[in-house]
Symmetry: C2
Subunit: 96 residues, 2 copies
């Protein structure tokens, strides 16, 4: 069941794409592969679950303002399995 999740592209040029993602409780960002290195800037504190193609689950503890980065090639869907506040973060992709 894919609940509500949406991405708002805030900046896009040949060098960078900045997207603000919101995942509602019960929502999922469907399976996707990252083609570019990216950083994540959480705008709230909460728990997200990354599910990889082989079913591996990784609990991602988000803390407001504590950023992290990943390399191109990551592939997963992102689930909000909790209730309460939506998960909100900004993703900054380094376009090649």
């Amino acid at each position: 069941m894919t609940g509500a999740a949406h991405g708002e592209v805030q900046v896009e040029n040949e060098r960078m794409r900045v997207t603000r993602w919101t995942i509602e409780p019960g929502g999922t960002i469907p399976m996707h592969r990252h083609h570019h290195d990216y950083a994540v800037v959480p705008l709230m504190t909460g728990t997200m679950v990354a599910v990889e193609p082989d079913g591996t689950e990784i609990v991602v503890e988000l803390e407001q303002g504590r950023s992290y980065a990943r390399e191109a090639g990551a592939e997963h869907r992102m689930e909000h399995r909790g209730d309460g506040e939506p998960i909100v973060f900004v993703e900054v992709e380094r376009l090649d």
Copy 2:
């Protein structure tokens, strides 16, 4: 008068540098030149003043989660001229 302002580097590799900046009321990030394209993700809503080398002042209205990007070459100092809450934002630089 340069009040308290500090940057916490949260991620640094050959491709990206992610820094969380905090400017206390009355504080300033001293004059600096950006050598890389960068995006800014505000973690709060407030007003910051950019002062360029020639004295030109640009009021920067920050809104929590509303990102913006700039190209390499920008040169300014950043001032918090208000009172109340510190200015806090995350800067994501695209290293060449």
